[in-house]
Structures are given as C-alpha cells and as structure tokens.
C-alpha cells in the first residue's frame, strides 16, 4: 500500500497503467459543491476528469457527471434554473447522441427538470434534511452505471438531501419498471425521503442517462466507511473507456 494519492491523482492500485484514461466531464454550476469530490473519485477510478463550467460548452469527453450541490440556491425548484444554463444545451445534445450522463443528487434534480430523466424530485416527506448512509439494491445490473454490480446487490452509499423524494404519476411507473428504467431502489425500511416505489436511481429509456440521490463519490475510500460507490462510478469509467476505444 502506497501513500494516499493527491487530489486529482489516481491511486496506483486502481488505475492500471496501461488502461487508457477516458475523459469524463464534471460540470460545475453556481452552487455545486460535490464537483471536486466527483472529480477526485473519477480520477482514482482511472478516468481523466475534465472540468466543465456552467456557461461553457461541454468539452469533448466520453461521459459527463452532473454533481451534487445547491445550484442557483435551489431557488424555485431544485434544478429548475440550472437546467437553463448554457452547458445544459450541450449536455442534452450529448445525451441525445447516446453520450453517457450521470446526475448525482442535485445533478439528478437538474436532469429531471431538463426532461432528460422521468419524474421530479420533491421535498422529503419528513421535511427534514437527511444525511446518513443508506442501503440500496441494484435492480438493474449491466447498465453503463451498474456493470460492476450483481443483480440484487446491496450497496451502502450516503445520502444528504432535503429534496430527494422522486415522484412520477402512479400510472407512469409500470412502464418505467417494465423497461428496466428503475436502476436502484432503497432497501426495505431505508427510504430516506418517501420516494415512490422506493426508487433511488432511474435511467432514461435509452439507458445512457442516469440519476440517483445517493452519493457514490463519497463512498470510494474505506476510510469513509464504504467503497460501494466505486462500483457505480467504476462502471461509468469502464463504459466511458470502452467508448473511447471505439474508433470514431
């Protein structure tokens, strides 16, 4: 075991020297606060994180992560204002071409408001901000975000949000279930926000865009109690790497 990697550097045991490092954008909105943790986690898992600013275009990348935080102060509705940031036009175009996009917490809220994911995130039923580890179950392995997970695998990942209650009208849910868009579900008794059908993470119909309320980027180091988040972000890095390897 070598010493800890400096921020932005890969841990030697994670990054195989010969494996290409896919470029993954981490978008920073005014009020994002998990962008650096996301970049650090991605770097440790073998990616090359690329900072993307809210009023810029998305740079050429193999994947994009919209991190957690409180973009635009959560004014009006969480994510409602960020979705009109200039960068979101290129995120939407990237997603439409099949680009991999992962939204974490506030990033999930932004993707829902932007219509790139179904549903909306509402205030927690308890009206309390919840900050703790939760257990989620992998409902759909084999996506670009869960390829390192087994079906039904239990992951422990922290949440920290006041508005994480994912909602879709009841009649919409069966179609989402049938198409395998429900990727992660809180384990029984673990739902921290009252989301419908205990949903913790959801994908778009094409399967290249996903959002989740738990924070995988905070669960990549045993020092912080769990490394289960590395299974999700590592899956994304794997998928991004395989896309980088495909000649244009």
């Amino acid at each position: 075991m070598t010493g800890r990697a400096a921020p932005g550097e890969a841990e030697p045991e994670e990054a195989v020297a010969s494996a290409p490092r896919p470029r993954v954008a981490v978008v920073t909105f005014p009020g994002s606060n998990d962008d650096r943790d996301a970049a650090l986690a991605l770097a440790r898992l073998g990616a090359e994180p690329v900072s993307a600013w809210h009023d810029d275009e998305l740079p050429p990348v193999e994947a994009a992560v919209l991190p957690g935080g409180f973009s635009y102060g959560d004014y009006l509705r969480c994510g409602a204002i960020a979705r009109f940031s200039p960068v979101m036009r290129s995120v939407a175009a990237f997603a439409a071409e099949g680009g991999l996009v992962l939204g974490i917490c506030n990033g999930f809220q932004i993707l829902c408001e932007a219509g790139l994911l179904p549903g909306v995130l509402r205030p927690n039923r308890s009206l309390s901000f919840v900050c703790r580890d939760v257990a989620v179950r992998v409902e759909r392995p084999g996506t670009p975000f869960t390829s390192r997970c087994a079906a039904g695998q239990r992951l422990v990942v922290p949440v920290k949000h006041g508005e994480g209650c994912w909602y879709v009208p009841e009649h919409v849910l069966p179609a989402l279930e049938r198409r395998g868009q429900i990727v992660l579900r809180y384990e029984q008794g673990e739902n921290p926000n009252g989301s419908i059908a205990d949903v913790a993470g959801v994908a778009n119909e094409a399967g290249n865009v996903m959002g989740l309320m738990p924070h995988p980027e905070h669960a990549v180091d045993p020092l912080l109690g769990s490394t289960d988040g590395a299974l999700i972000l590592g899956s994304l890095v794997d998928a991004a790497r395989s896309r980088a390897a495909v000649p244009a």
Binding site: R77, V120, N124, L127
Partner: protein
C-alpha cells in the same frame, strides 16, 4: 403591466409542507382539515395588452415557473 402567478401543488399530490402547516394550525386550536402551500410570483412585464401579457406569462409558467408533473398555475393580469 403587472401579473400575479399562483403556483400550487396539484390536487391529489401529497404536500408535506401543507401537512406540517395543517398540524401547526391544529396545534394552535384552529379546526383546519387541510392546508396546501404554493407560491406567488409577482411580475412586472412589458406587454402590448392584457392578452399578450397573459400569453407571455403562460409560457413562463410552462417553461420555468411551474412543473406540470406536480404543480398547477393560475395567472392574474393587472393593467
């Protein structure tokens, strides 16, 4: 021209904020059976006439001010 937009949680949608307000009001001794909490947006805008103002504000609601999945909106234009 001025316009007032009232954004409300859709009927049938659980409104935890309204529930908390209802609970508090009952605690104060008021016989309140339901409370729903929405938001008011006061706007000052340029418009040719009331109809134009109403059309513009409708588009504002559809694009930004309300989320049709969970909210309804009501517009009042004041000359």
């Amino acid at each position: 021209m001025r316009a007032v937009v009232a954004v409300r949680p859709k009927p049938g949608i659980l409104d935890p904020q309204g529930e908390a307000v209802r609970g508090s009001l009952r605690h104060l001794g008021f016989a309140v059976s339901e409370a729903r909490v929405g938001r008011i947006v006061d706007l000052e805008l340029e418009a040719r006439d009331e109809r134009d103002a109403h059309d513009q504000v409708t588009r504002m609601c559809e694009q930004l001010l309300a989320n049709p999945l969970i909210e309804t909106f009501e517009i009042e234009v004041k000359p």
